[in-house]
């Protein structure tokens, strides 16, 4: 019974996600094309500056991308190419956009993954402890620091960490070394500052949300039942209370992943020079390389949608009362 409606629900949501992603794609595409600068302008002016003959290149570009054709034709063309898995050509890096993204996504992923794990584990633990010891000194300190963590601008935090640990103490390099293997310890070490930069705000947020979710559930009747059964306090808190508090937490953590992280992660990449999707899309924006911009925007949007869908599906397993129709 559960299986059927869940499958129908997932199909419905997937279709909806595709619709939204399409809408985002269309809006971004139109914005790019009607903007004051044409995609080929900067590339051509660069070539001209190098003293090359631009008319030939212009013809080649026009032939290949059809930027001079009416916008709806370009759009249809783009969609058809997309259907074949072709996201277009990045002019500034002379690669196909697909290849570019394939080469760089892992840097964003490792940063976001490590930061989320770091923030979620520590934030949730502090939140639980703070709720169980409500009104204690530890609770006040945790609450105070979570306020600070939420309010600290993460790009400034990044700069300050570099100033303190890289410039003054010399503990870390000031640039990101891509020659290191991703799974090496040295790579982990150079990710410490970026992870703290991106993770601090998330950690503080999770601490606050965990604390309030735990407090809300600690007051519930079933907690008394669990205690009356003679269960150890560890089980009462860790199983009965936390399992209920985790429900709103999942939504918040996933929502954070979906929205805040993309902005914050991209900024963090720029500060530390990590060549992830954020870095390449900023470079692309400044280089008028719009095929990359469209692709990264649409892929980010689609990821957000998928994360939302996964959240909702997880929810049906976490909360037996939930039923989406």
């Amino acid at each position: 019974m559960k299986k059927t409606w869940l499958r129908d629900y997932i199909i419905k949501r997937l279709l909806y996600a595709i619709f939204i992603a399409w809408a985002v794609l269309t809006v971004t595409f139109v914005m790019v094309r009607v903007g004051p600068t044409s995609p080929a302008d900067k590339y051509l002016s660069n070539l001209a500056a190098q003293g090359q003959d631009t008319s030939q290149v212009m013809a080649a570009i026009e032939a290949r991308y059809g930027v001079d054709r009416p916008i709806y034709e370009q759009y249809l063309n783009y969609i058809t190419n997309l259907g074949r898995g072709d996201w277009g050509w990045s002019l500034s890096t002379s690669m196909s956009v697909m290849e570019l993204i394939k080469a760089h996504w892992i840097y964003s992923f490792q940063l976001i993954f490590l930061s989320s794990i770091f923030a979620a584990i520590i934030g949730i633990l502090i939140g639980i402890y703070s709720a169980v010891r409500q009104y204690s000194k530890t609770d006040y300190i945790a609450t105070f620091f979570s306020f600070i963590g939420i309010s600290i601008p993460n790009f400034w935090l990044g700069v300050m960490l570099i100033l303190l640990f890289s410039v003054n103490l010399g503990l870390f390099k000031t640039y990101y070394d891509t020659s290191l293997s991703l799974l090496s310890l040295a790579n982990l070490k150079q990710l410490i500052l970026p992870v703290i930069t991106l993770g601090t705000g998330m950690l503080a947020g999770y601490t606050r949300y965990t604390r309030s979710a735990m407090l809300e559930n600690l007051r519930k009747d079933f907690v008394k039942t669990a205690r009356a059964k003679g269960l150890p306090e560890r089980t009462v808190i860790g199983k009965h209370v936390f399992r209920n508090a985790v429900l709103p937490l999942v939504t918040i953590i996933m929502f954070d992943l979906g929205s805040i992280v993309f902005g914050g992660a991209y900024l963090t990449e720029i500060i530390f020079g990590i060549p992830g999707l954020g870095q390449i899309s900023f470079n692309a924006i400044f280089a008028d390389d719009y095929a990359v911009v469209v692709a990264v925007t649409v892929i980010s949007a689609f990821l957000i949608l998928m994360i939302n869908l996964i959240t909702d599906i997880t929810y049906t397993y976490l909360d037996p009362r939930i039923r989406y129709d």
Binding site: I20, A21, A23, V24, V27, M31, V32, G35, P36, T37, F147, I148, I150, S151, I152, P153, F155, W156, V159, M160, I162, L163, V167, Y209, S212, E216, P248, S259, F262, G263, Y266, L267, I270, I271, S281, F282, I285, F286, V293, V296, T297, S300, A301, I304, L305
Partner: protein, 371 residues
């Protein structure tokens, strides 16, 4: 009795009509001046000024009457909010900041005045060592530079006074924070309340639209638009405002949904009130506390968005915002670290103050909510 009732009602109606008329005339005047300014005399005021006047007019026409109508409620919540010391602290800090933005520039030196004789001065109480190439002796000599009371926060690599820059940046950050939030809140409230009240297809379309807007990677979009259309503070404010309303719309919608079927709304509907009137005088006043909380809590995000934008080099070059100073500081981190530290601290404190205030207000309004 009925006559008197009728006459009072017709008076209220007349007053309403006069108010509307005045508002429309003012708006039309504003738009005409703007168009004249753009196409004929070419910009006496910058775009931001027009934006401020428009928002100000809206506030006088709708905001003040709304706040006045809910004054008792606000007063009640206020009594509860001021018990929270952190919230009061936050409010005091914000008020001081506003004061600083207005009268601060009168007391500081010109933030744009370049003076290479006094470049790289550390803040008061700090001493740095700097190697300087002396032309006379053709040698590098290490000299110790101590901060002076003339430049209490020091100077940057062009000898500009950091304190003056910070003070002028205050105005930028507050402007962006307040006005972009203003736009976002107005839009979000209108969309949220209309979706909830009108229901059905309208609700569906508005919410689908909100979904689409929410899915955009907001910061990337912001960077992109600002890059295409050029870094201009008015544009930044408008773009943040036009993209930042989605969360507000959702919250306001869910809050108004329960109001829609309440007796007082039904009653005024039965009495033949128009949709516009019900929305303006029944629904919005009932969600005003939520609006205030959302507004307070969204200002920090907006201020940070502008700062981040300036930080990556897309700030309005004609104004020295905190993000811009921070960027300059980051580039010279090894020589003038204080240029990166000071604006960051200001940003941090401002955001903290708004968070404290918003949190206190939220607790006062509805301690159980999870905004």
């Amino acid at each position: 009795m009925t006559n008197r009732l009728k006459s009072t009602r017709s008076i209220t109606r007349k007053v309403d009509r006069v108010k509307n008329l005045a508002f429309i005339i003012a708006m039309v005047l504003l738009v005409t001046t703007l168009l004249l300014d753009i196409f004929v005399i070419e910009m006496i005021f910058d775009l931001l000024t027009y934006l401020y006047i428009a928002l100000g007019l809206l506030f006088v026409r709708y905001g003040i009457p709304l706040l006045y109508a809910s004054r008792r409620l606000i007063q009640y919540y206020w009594q509860r909010a001021i018990k929270n010391k952190l919230a009061v602290g936050g409010l005091v800090f914000i008020l001081l900041l506003i004061l600083l933005a207005f009268i601060g520039p009168l007391f500081t030196v010109d933030p744009t005045a370049v003076n290479f004789d006094e470049k790289n001065l550390p803040p008061l109480g700090f001493t740095i060592e700097e190697s300087v190439y002396k032309i006379e002796t053709k040698q590098f000599i290490t000299s110790r530079i101590t901060g002076t009371s003339e430049h209490p926060l020091g100077t940057d690599d062009k000898g500009r006074d950091l304190l003056a820059m910070i003070v002028s940046g205050t105005r930028v950050s507050l402007q962006v924070g307040l006005f972009a939030t203003g736009i976002a809140i107005i839009l979000g409230t209108l969309i949220g309340v209309s979706a909830a009240y009108l229901g059905g297809k309208t609700d569906n379309i508005l919410m689908r639209f909100t979904d689409i807007m929410m899915t955009f990677p907001f910061f990337l979009l912001l960077v992109f638009i600002v890059f295409i259309f050029g870094p201009n503070l008015a544009l930044i404010v408008i773009v943040i405002g036009l993209t930042g309303w989605t969360g507000t719309a959702r919250l306001i919608r869910s809050e108004s949904l329960s109001l829609r079927t309440r007796e007082f709304v039904m009653a005024s509907k039965a009495l033949g009130a128009s949709d516009r009137r019900i929305i303006l005088s029944h629904l919005i006043p009932n969600v005003i506390s939520l609006i205030i909380v959302i507004a307070t809590l969204s200002i920090p995000g907006v201020i940070l968005a502008e700062a981040a934008l300036s930080f990556i080099g897309l700030g309005d070059p004609s104004v020295a915002s905190w993000g811009m100073i921070l960027k300059a500081g980051q580039q010279n981190l090894d020589t003038t670290w204080w240029v990166a530290v000071a604006p960051g601290i200001m940003l941090f404190l401002t955001v903290l103050a708004f968070n404290f205030l918003g949190d206190g207000l939220r607790d006062a309004f509805d301690p159980r909510s999870n905004i």
